[in-house]
Symmetry: C2
Subunit: 427 residues, 2 copies
C-alpha cells in the first residue's frame, strides 16, 4: 500500500492521473461492437439467436424468459436471501421516494404562465450481466428508481444461461421488471436500442456490463439515453485517531475484492492509525477467499496519505472526488458540510460501506473516476424528463414585442422577429 | 413541404429516421480533434496561441479578454438591446430559481440516518461561438442556470476576434461570468478540460459550437461533464382549425432561418388549415432576408401530416418528441396532460416560439433529434450534484447484519460480509 507525500495539489493531481489510468481500456473493441450493432439492426431476432449460439453456446428458442422459469426461481431461492431482498427493496423504495420531484407553475406577470412538467421516461431497459458478476442487489438498484419515477415498462435483459441464479430473477420480479429477455453483450444493447421483432425499443438503457456492453452503450447513446459508463470501483476513507484499524481495514478490503483494478485511498492525520491499518489489512487478507484479487488491488492501486489537519483531509478528498467516501471519525456527521465531491458518504465508525451496497436504501450505482465532480448516484431523477411550458396572451406578447424583436434583430434572425410582429395588428 | 401519410406508427418511424439522418455528420474530424486535444494537453498556452494564429489569423497576446474591452462593450451596445438583455435576464433568473432543489434527510428507523446533499458543481466552462453564430441570448441561457445553482466560478471562452460583438460581452457580465478567455474551437475545449497555465480546468463544459467543438466535447466527456451534443433545431406544431395560418407560418419560418438542416413538422386535423399554412409560408418567405436558407430547409425537411383526431395529433407528436412544441389550439393549456415528450411547449395562438428563445425565462438549450424522450432542457439540475449519505449506529448495523451478510455471501463477496461482521463483538 503505497504512501504518497507532497502538497495537497500535487497529491491530488497524481491520484487523478492514476485513476484515469485505471479507468482506461485499451482493448480495441469498438469495431467489433459496431459490426454487432449493425447486424442486430438488420437481422433482428435471428441475429440475436446467432450471437447467442456463437458467444454463449446456447440455442435460444424463446427470447423471453418464461413464467415457469421465474416461478422455479421463487421456489429455489434461499428464504434468508429472499427475506433480505424484500427488506432491501423496502429500504431502497423509501429512500428513492424522497427523490420524487414535483412540477411547478408560476404567473410572473399578467397574461403569462410558465411551468415545468415532470414526466417519466416511457420505456427503460436494464442490463444484468451473467456469471459471477450477476448481482441481485444491482437489479434492485437499477429497477426501483425507474419504477418510482413512474416508468411505464421496464425490460430486463441478461445473457442466456443453462441455469439462472434464482436471486436475479426474484430480484427482477420483486422490483417490478415487466419482461425479461435472455440476450447479452453488445447484441443485447443493440436489441434495446433499435428494437427487434420480439424485444421492444427502449428510451434509456441502464446497468453494468463488460467492455463490449459498455462500448455498445456509448455507441447507441443519443438514440437512447444511457446511465453512465462506470470505471473500477473506489473507496476513499477519511480517518482520524478515533477510528478502529480493524474496521477501516475490513471496509477497504471489501472494495479490493471486486477487481484487481479496485482502488482505495486512505487519508488520515494519524500516523499510528495508518500503521495499524496496514497491519490489520495483512492480517485480514489472509482469511479472504478472494485474497489474490484483493492483494493485487492493494499492491497496485492503494494509497495512504498522511496530512497534518482535519481541514486538509477534506480538501484532498474533495479533489479526489471518490465514488464511496467513509468518514471514520467520532463526530463524522458534523463534517458533512465539508464534503463537496463524492458519490455516497458513510458516516462514523459503524456505517460500513457494504451497508450502502445492499441495504440502507441509497443507490449503489455511483460515479467513479472523479466524475462525482459533476455527476451523481443513479436515482429517480435519471428516469424523468422536465418539460418546460409557456403561455403568453395577446397583451403579454405585445408588451414584450419590443424587447424580443430587439434581441432577434441584434442576432440577425429576422424571421424570429417577424413571428412576434405578425401578432401585432398595428404592424 | 412534403405531406406524409400512413399509420401513426409508420409516420413516426419515418420521421425518426429522417431526423437521425439530419443529425448525422459524416465529416471525419475526430482524428484532427484528437491531435488538437493532445497538443493543448502538452503545450498549454503556447499551443492555444499557435492554433489562434493558424485558425483565427489572430496573434493573441493576453488570453484573457481585458476589462477595458468589456467596458468598451458596455459603451458600444445599443441601449434597447441592453434593456432587453436585462429584462430577459430577470425572467430567466426567476424561472430557473423555481428549479432549485433542496436536500433531504430521513430517519427510517432508530439509529439510522439517510439523506441527500445538493452541491453545486465547482467550476463551469461555457463555450460561445464567434462570427454569425454568436448569440447573446445563448450566453444568458447557459450562464444563468449555473449561477443560480451556486457554481463558484464560471469561465467563458470564445474565439479571438478583432472586434467582439458588444452584446456577447455584456450578456456575459450581466449573467455573472467570472472570466472571459479568447480561444475557440477544439483547442478551447481542451483548455477547459485539461487546464493550461492561464486557463483553469473546469468540471463541466456547456454551450454550442461547430463540429470541431462538438467532437472535442464528446472526446473529453468523462474527464469533464458536458451538457449535450445538439443536432439541428426542430419545431413541431399541433394545430386545429382554430389556428391562424399566418401565425403558424411565421413560427415555422423562425425555425427555418436557422439552418438548411432545420426541421418543422406540422400535424393538423384540418385540411383547410394545412393548405392555408402552405400558402402563407410561400407569401412570407419572399419577405425574408434569409430566404435561401429557409427555402432549402422547407423543401428538404418540412413535413405536414393530416390526422383525423385530436388524440392522434398528440399520439404522433409524442413519438416525434420535438425540441420545440407549439400547440396552436384555443384550449391549448387543457392539452398539457397529453404531452409526454418535448423539450419546451408553447401554448395557444399567441405564444410564438421565439418568446422562449429570448424572453419568457424558460431555457432555449433543448434536446433535439427525439432525445426529449429521455432528456430535458438545460437547467439548474445540470449544475448540481446529489450526494447521498448514510449513518448507522452500532445497534442498527447489528440489526441489519443477517440481511446484509446473506446478500453478500449470495453474491460471493465475502469481504463485504466480513466488513459487517467485524462490527459485531460476538463474532
Amino acid at each position: 500500500m503505497k504512501r504518497l507525500t507532497g502538497t495537497t495539489q500535487e497529491i491530488a493531481k497524481r491520484l487523478y492521473e492514476e485513476q484515469l489510468e485505471l479507468a482506461k481500456d485499451n482493448r480495441d473493441v469498438e469495431a467489433v461492437v459496431r459490426d454487432i450493432l449493425e447486424a442486430v439492426k438488420e437481422g433482428g431476432d435471428e441475429a440475436l439467436r446467432a450471437y447467442s449460439r456463437q458467444f454463449d453456446q446456447i440455442d435460444v428458442a424463446d427470447l423471453a424468459v418464461s413464467q415457469a422459469v421465474i416461478d422455479e426461481a421463487f421456489k429455489a431461492i434461499d428464504p434468508a436471501v429472499l427475506g433480505a431482498l424484500e427488506r432491501a427493496k423496502a429500504n431502497i423504495e423509501s429512500y428513492h421516494r424522497l427523490q420524487l420531484e414535483k412540477g411547478f407553475e408560476d404567473q410572473p406577470s399578467k397574461g403569462v404562465i410558465r411551468g415545468q412538467l415532470i414526466r417519466p421516461i416511457e420505456r427503460v431497459g436494464v442490463y444484468v450481466p451473467g456469471g459471477t458478476a450477476a448481482y441481485p442487489s444491482s437489479v434492485l438498484m437499477n429497477v426501483i428508481p425507474a419504477k418510482i419515477a413512474g416508468v411505464k415498462e421496464i425490460i430486463m435483459i441478461t445473457p442466456p444461461q443453462k441455469e439462472y441464479v434464482p436471486a436475479i430473477l426474484v430480484a427482477a420480479k420483486l422490483s417490478g421488471v415487466d419482461k425479461i429477455y435472455q440476450v447479452g453483450g453488445a447484441q443485447g444493447i443493440a436489441a434495446l436500442a433499435y428494437g427487434t421483432q420480439t424485444i421492444p425499443k427502449v428510451d434509456k438503457i441502464t446497468g453494468p456490463g463488460n467492455i463490449y456492453v459498455a462500448t455498445a452503450k456509448k455507441l447507441v447513446f443519443g438514440q437512447v439515453g444511457i446511465d453512465m459508463v462506470a470505471g473500477p470501483s473506489e473507496i476513499g476513507v477519511i480517518a482520524d485517531q478515533s477510528a478502529r484499524p480493524d474496521y477501516v481495514a475490513a471496509d477497504l478490503l471489501s472494495q479490493a475484492e471486486h477487481d484487481v483494478l479496485a482502488r482505495a485511498i486512505l487519508v488520515t492525520n494519524s500516523a499510528s492509525l495508518a500503521e495499524a491499518v496496514e497491519g490489520e489489512i495483512e492480517h485480514q487478507l489472509q482469511l479472504l477467499p478472494r485474497e489474490a484479487i484483493a492483494r493485487a488491488s492493494i499492491e497496485n492501486n492503494w494509497r495512504i496519505i498522511l496530512t497534518d489537519s482535519v481541514e486538509s483531509m477534506f480538501e484532498l478528498m474533495n479533489l479526489v472526488a471518490p465514488e464511496h467516501l467513509e468518514i471514520a471519525m467520532d463526530d463524522a456527521y458534523d463534517y458533512l458540510d465539508k464534503v463537496e465531491n463524492a458519490g455516497s458518504i458513510f458516516l462514523g465508525h459503524f456505517t460500513s460501506e457494504p451497508i450502502g451496497d445492499y441495504y440502507a436504501g441509497t443507490n449503489h450505482v455511483l460515479p467513479t473516476t472523479a466524475t462525482s465532480r459533476f455527476s451523481s448516484a443513479l436515482g429517480v431523477h435519471d428516469f424523468i424528463k422536465r418539460i418546460q411550458y409557456t403561455q403568453y396572451d395577446k397583451a403579454a406578447i405585445l408588451a414584450a414585442e419590443q424587447d424580443i424583436t430587439s434581441l432577434a434583430y441584434a442576432e440577425g434572425l429576422q424571421a424570429h422577429a417577424k413571428a412576434i410582429e405578425v401578432r401585432n395588428d398595428n404592424n
